[in-house]
């Protein structure tokens, strides 16, 4: 279908409410056709508002939304395509399965109310059957929608969203109401489905592991602004600031003074607030004399005996073990380095008890010097 070979282009989207929750400002991104795109951020960061603006459930005050050459919304030229004309499929967080209709009728609904074209009985039957078998629910077509499990409701909502082959698929935290096992299963299932259909997908979640696993591109939002846009690898290894690093699961963020000259290898020494000096890698350029945040992932900090010699290209900080937690192959430690507590990892072969003096060993490369906040408020 021609309309599917189009990119979604969102430019400078902005909307403010009376309150401060859900405000968005200056959101821009371009999605190549068929990509899986995730809006990621904590609650109230504006990710759902952004999605609802694309769906047409909210009207932005600034910016534009285009799908290929089709202008869906443009504040400047006052274009606002009504939401029932956009032909986007959406899965709601609550699934919004209509309880007065059967599974079949729920999925057939978009075809029955279509204003662009009439579908005859046979093609409705064929399209609904196809959508239901795509999500693996072909046998439940005649069941009442009130007698479905959470996972089944989820699949019905998905079938309903894809039945008329929408130009865009939107998923609003679709896994948050499922239990842990089902959630794992549905991640794979959703990804498989999206690849099978080749449909451009916008996915909203606050769960970074979900986002990392499923997405082609992730946009991290904080306080209504887009903080970083990139592939899962970029976000994970080269976060743009301390917020993204923290949101991507790094528990160790330390304050530090502005670095000296950053070398060609991107490395430079900084002084931590307690006066010790370590070497960081700077993945993104900084303003001159800007104070930095140092981020080190727990799994890259090795807990070793102080007797072990310092390796080339590594930082070292002495500390005292506070707590230990056995995690199978690894042992998780909280280590007091004097003024701050770092999460670190050790081997199960050599375990330290609380109170033991240890050394923290971590590579310069894994020590990230980042901006504290890209958008100070």
């Amino acid at each position: 279908m021609k309309t599917q070979d189009t990119a979604l282009i969102v430019e400078d989207l902005g909307k403010s409410y009376d309150g401060s929750v859900g405000v968005i400002d200056n959101i821009s991104f371009t999605l190549p056709p068929g990509s899986f795109f995730t809006l990621l951020g904590p609650s109230g960061c504006g990710k759902t508002t952004t999605l609802r603006c694309i769906a047409g459930l909210e009207q932005p005050q600034r910016g534009s939304i285009r799908l290929g050459s089709d202008v869906v919304f443009d504040a400047a030229s006052r274009v606002n395509m009504p939401l029932d004309r956009r032909n986007f499929g959406m899965v709601f967080q609550s699934y919004a399965i209509w309880p007065h209709l059967t599974v079949f009728e729920n999925v057939a609904f978009p075809l029955r109310v279509s204003q662009d074209r009439r579908y005859d009985k046979a093609s409705i039957r064929a399209m609904v059957d196809e959508a239901l078998s795509t999500v693996g629910l072909a046998k439940l077509a005649d069941r009442s929608a009130t007698r479905l499990s959470g996972g089944q409701q989820q699949r019905v909502a998905l079938a309903r969203a894809i039945v008329r082959r929408p130009r865009l698929l939107m998923l609003d935290e679709p896994l948050s109401n499922l239990d842990a096992v089902l959630r794992e299963e549905m991640r794979m299932e959703l990804k498989r489905l999206q690849q099978q259909l080749g449909i451009t997908t916008v996915y909203v979640t606050h769960d970074q592991s979900e986002a990392l696993e499923m997405s082609d591109t992730i946009a991290v939002l904080n306080r209504g602004r887009l903080v970083q846009l990139g592939t899962p690898q970029e976000l994970y290894f080269n976060p743009s600031d301390a917020f993204v690093a923290g949101f991507m699961g790094s528990p160790n963020i330390l304050g530090a003074s502005p670095p000296g000259m950053i070398g060609g290898d991107g490395l430079a020494a900084v002084t931590l607030t307690d006066g010790r000096s370590i070497v960081c890698r700077f993945p993104h350029p900084l303003n001159a004399n800007e104070a930095v945040a140092v981020s080190v992932r727990a799994e890259t900090i090795n807990v070793v005996s102080p007797a072990v010699a310092l390796r080339e290209g590594h930082n070292r900080l002495p500390g005292t073990v506070i707590t230990t937690g056995f995690q199978g192959e690894h042992v998780r430690y909280a280590v007091d380095i004097g003024g701050a507590v770092l999460q670190a990892t050790g081997s199960h072969r050599e375990q330290f008890r609380p109170g033991a003096a240890v050394a923290l060993d971590f590579a310069h490369d894994a020590t990230l010097g980042l901006r504290r906040d890209s958008h100070p408020s």
């Binding site: 939401l83 709601f92 967080q93 609550s94 309880p99 029955r112 109310v113 009130t146």
Partner: protein, 561 residues
Amino acid sequence: MPGFVPAVILTAVLACLVLPPILTVLRTSLHDDTGSGAWTLAGYSALFSGSTLYQVTWNSLEFALLATLLSLLNGGLMAWLVERSDTPLKPLASVTAVVSLGTPYIIYVSAWLYLLGRAGPFNALYRGITGAAGTFTNVYSISGMVFIEGLLWSPLVFLLLSATFRQSNADMEEAARVCGASVRATIWRVSLRLAAPAILGVGLFVFIRNLEAFDVPVLIGMPGHIQLLTTNIYLDMTQAPPLLSRASAFSTVLMAVVSVLLYLYSRVSRHADRYASVTGKSFRPRPFRLGVSGRTLGGALILVNFLIVLVLPMLAILWNSFSPFVSAMTLAGLSRMTTRHYAAVFSHAEYLDLGLNTAIISGLAATVAMALTGVAAWMSVRRKPGSQLLDQLTSVPLVIPGVVLGVAVLEISLQWVPSVYGTVWLVALAFVIRYMPYGMRYGSAGVIQIHCELEEAAGAAGASQPSMLRRIMLPLLTPSLVAGWLFIFLLGAKELSIAVLLAGPNSRTISVAMFDQWANGASGEVAAMGVVWTCIMTVFTLGLFMVNRRRSSASLAGNPA
């Protein structure tokens, strides 16, 4: 003391309250009025052999059905416009409902009787335009009764359906819109279908209330010689000597019909609960955008409703309260205005007594009913041992129409304790029985909202059961109990059918006194008293609204799920 003892004691108390009226009515209906004590079906055979029963039942059904449809249409439309659309003038609809709820029905009915009556402005206008001498409408007819009864219940329908529309899951409608449905298709295929069980439930409830209605049938039907089930019972009871067995047989028929309807109602409500689904984020339901013409039409509808349900009757009452005698609304009439009726209302000790009687009876009934049902609700919702019958027992009075309960309590008191007849205590007792179901509703809803882990946490923290109840349950439940109290108080202050049968010369309530005066043609003082009373009651209604609002926001904060 075993754990089930408190619940069993409460069960016994409630049974002693709700069962005797029904048993008494049944027993009397199976005896003749001579006092011979022999069992007989004479009352029923008289009832079923004559044509009165069928005619009266038909009248009642026609009246109740049409009035229900009118209030559903009017109240439902208002509720939808206010809760789910971007119509202007929304506050007017709420003001209309609040003030109407505080107005005694008899005031409202007499206002409309004046407006549509021979001397009223509508017929005057008709004569002015056509030059004819007659009237364009006779208000003393089924259609007149339906019109006024329909307006009487519109505010309550508005409030009940507002809650339904407000709580509706907006995701359901938004999903339909995203699926490509137009606004009209969404309303027709999703909103209405989802609200259908709730609308049907409210409809059945109002239908039952209309079947039991007393004010409109007695004030309009009787002068127009249109008898309904309730007025027939009232007439039988107020004859000398009263036709006890016939009235009781009639009452039994009425109770049987209401029981069937209530059974249907419970089925419908259970079905409505199944429609409740997983709710998502707490996005406020976004109103439908109606467009310019839609907004204009919606605003006009709200304005017309405001004028008809509130402004016109209020104007009529004010006019009558300032007119020396019943007169048409003319400029000449303005110059004759007098405050004489108000002076009478404020100077005669009799009026103060009426106010006190009403306040004592309603306040006492509300307090006792809420105390009993508050405990019953807690035991029943938490499934305490021995509490199995509490819910059913408190629901029993729903099948007893006001007139029937009046008849039953009258018979009981005459037979066993004649000394309480005619006192405020007897009226209050009847009110307690009558309003227990509403108390139970408020109580249960309140307890359900309080997560039982809050109780268990108090127990885990070392609190004894009584201390948990006092320190945790009571404070959390207070808003619900206060709301229930105000609701019962307001209903009691308006109640006519029970009070008119039970009140003696020294225990008359405002409604009864207005009924007596209205029957004697002293409409000016009735109107003045009505204005004063409506003002006082509106304050209470506003209180109820404020408590309800706090209650709903508190429950949102307390329930993360």
